[in-house]
C-alpha cells in the first residue's frame, strides 16, 4: 500500500468503497479518465454491442456503471459527438451515428511551418505588388466599396528550391497598418499579417482549378495543369482584411485523420 488515504477530507465512505471495489489508483491499473471512457465507448461501438443508429445509455447510467463522475462521461461523449461518432439531443439521448459523415480537424499550417516541418528550407520571393482592386471574387470577399484602397501581392514559396506554393493576396489597406513593397520583400504577407494584427476569424475554401498562366510559370508546370487552390479570408472584428488564393502543384495533398 502506498499513500494510505488521501481522501480523508471527503466522505470516508466513498474512500472505503473505492478501495474495496473500484480501486481507482493502482500501479498499472486503469484510472477513470475521460479518455478511458471514450475508449470504452468506442470499443462497444466497434464490437457491435452498440450498433449504428442505436441509443446508448444516459450519462448518469454510464457514470454509475463505470464508477466515475457524470462530468467525466460528459467530456468523453462530447468529444465523440464533436468527431461525428455520436449524436446527442437533450431529452432524447445519445445515438451512434448511422451516416458516413465525419468531422475531421484540418490543419491549415502557415507555409513556413509546413515546409520546415519536413526539414526543408523555405524560400520566399515577392513577384509583384500593385494597387489593382483585384477580380470580382477578391472584391466580394473583402466587402470592397468604392474608394477602398486594395493592394495585391503576388509571391512564390519554395521548399528547397522546388516551387511549393504560388500565392495571390489582396490586402485591405484601409483596415491595416502601413506597409509597402519593402515590407513584403522582407517577409511573406501572411507572416506580416499574423505579427501585425490579431486575426480573429478565418474562412477557407478548397477547390481544384486549372493553373493560370502566372501560376503555371511560377510553379513550373504547364498552363491548365490542375492545381489545388486554398482560398482564405482573414477577418478582424467582422471586417475582412485579407483575401488570399494559394495554389499548390499536383503533387500536393492535404491530409487529415479522423
Amino acid at each position: 500500500m502506498e499513500n494510505a488515504q488521501d481522501h480523508m477530507t471527503t466522505a470516508s465512505a466513498e474512500g472505503l468503497i473505492a478501495f474495496a471495489g473500484v480501486t481507482p489508483r493502482k500501479r498499472g491499473a486503469r484510472m477513470n479518465t475521460w479518455q478511458s471512457v471514450r475508449a470504452d465507448v468506442m470499443e462497444r461501438i466497434r464490437s457491435g454491442e452498440w450498433a449504428p443508429g442505436m441509443l446508448i445509455p444516459t450519462e448518469h447510467e454510464l457514470a454509475v456503471e463505470l464508477g466515475c463522475a457524470r462530468a467525466t462521461v460528459n467530456r468523453a461523449l462530447r468529444e465523440l459527438a464533436d468527431g461525428g461518432i455520436l449524436q446527442r439531443r437533450r431529452k432524447v439521448g445519445t445515438r451512434v451515428t448511422a451516416r458516413a459523415s465525419r468531422r475531421a480537424r484540418l490543419e491549415l499550417p502557415a507555409i513556413r511551418d509546413e515546409v520546415e516541418a519536413l526539414g526543408q528550407t523555405l524560400g520566399y520571393r515577392l513577384l509583384h505588388l500593385t494597387t489593382a482592386p483585384g477580380p470580382a471574387e477578391a472584391r466580394k470577399a473583402l466587402h470592397i466599396i468604392a474608394g477602398t484602397r486594395v493592394v495585391q501581392v503576388t509571391s512564390i514559396y519554395r521548399a528547397d528550391e522546388a516551387p511549393h506554393c504560388f500565392e495571390q493576396i489582396w490586402l485591405n489597406a484601409d483596415a491595416l497598418p502601413r506597409f509597402d513593397a519593402a515590407t513584403f520583400e522582407a517577409e511573406p504577407p501572411h507572416e506580416w499579417l499574423a505579427r501585425s494584427v490579431p486575426v480573429t476569424q478565418a474562412q477557407f475554401s478548397i477547390l481544384a482549378e486549372p493553373a493560370s498562366d502566372g501560376a503555371a510559370e511560377a510553379l513550373g508546370v504547364a498552363p491548365g495543369t490542375p492545381v489545388l487552390t486554398i482560398e482564405r479570408t482573414n477577418s478582424l472584428n467582422q471586417i475582412p482584411v485579407s483575401f488570399a488564393r494559394q495554389f499548390y502543384p499536383p503533387c500536393y495533398r492535404l491530409a487529415m485523420a479522423d
Copy 2:
C-alpha cells in the same frame, strides 16, 4: 457597448442573501459561461491588449478576475487552443498564437446529406463492379496481401440530374459482411458500409487531379479537366476495410470557417 456594472452579481453574493447571490439569473444579465469567458479573451486579443506571442494571465488569475471557477476558464481556453488561437504549455502558461496557422473543422458529410441539404434530390447509379485488386494506391491503403479478396465498385451520384460526384471504392471483402452486385445497385457503398459496420477511424486526403477518361465521361467534362479528389480510407479496429476516391467537378468547393 457594455454598461459599467457587470460585477453586481459577485458583489451581492458577498453582501446579501445567498439566494440572490448564488442565482445571479437576472433578466438581461449574462452569467459567467465558458462562452462568455471565451468571448472576453477574444475581445482582449482583438483589441490588442494581448498581442500575438504574448503570455496571458494564468487560469487562476483569470478565474479570480472574472469571478468564476477555474474549470470554466479552462474550458474556454481549451476551446481556443483547440482552434489554434492560443498555445498552452504546463508550467509556462498560455500564449497568443503568433503564426498564421489555423485548425478548422472540416465537415465531410455523406453525399446524400450534402445534396439533400441543398434541397436537391440525390440520384445514384452503380456503373461497374469487379473483383479487380485495384491500383497500387488502393492496395497499399487497404494493406492488401496476396489472396485478399477485393471488390471495386464504381458509381455516379447526381444532384437533380446534374453529375455531382464520381466514386471508385475498393472494399476488403474478407473483412466485411457478405455483399454482391445487387447490394450496390440498391444502395451507395458508403451508406451500406455505415449501416453494416461501425467504422472507427477514417483518414482523408484532398488533392487536385486531371479527370481520368472514366471520371470525365461520368461527370460530363473533358478528360484532363481539373477535379477535386477526396480519398478516404475507413478502418475498423485498425484494419482498413475500404478505400474510396471521390471526384468532384470544378464547380465544387469545400468550405469551412473559423
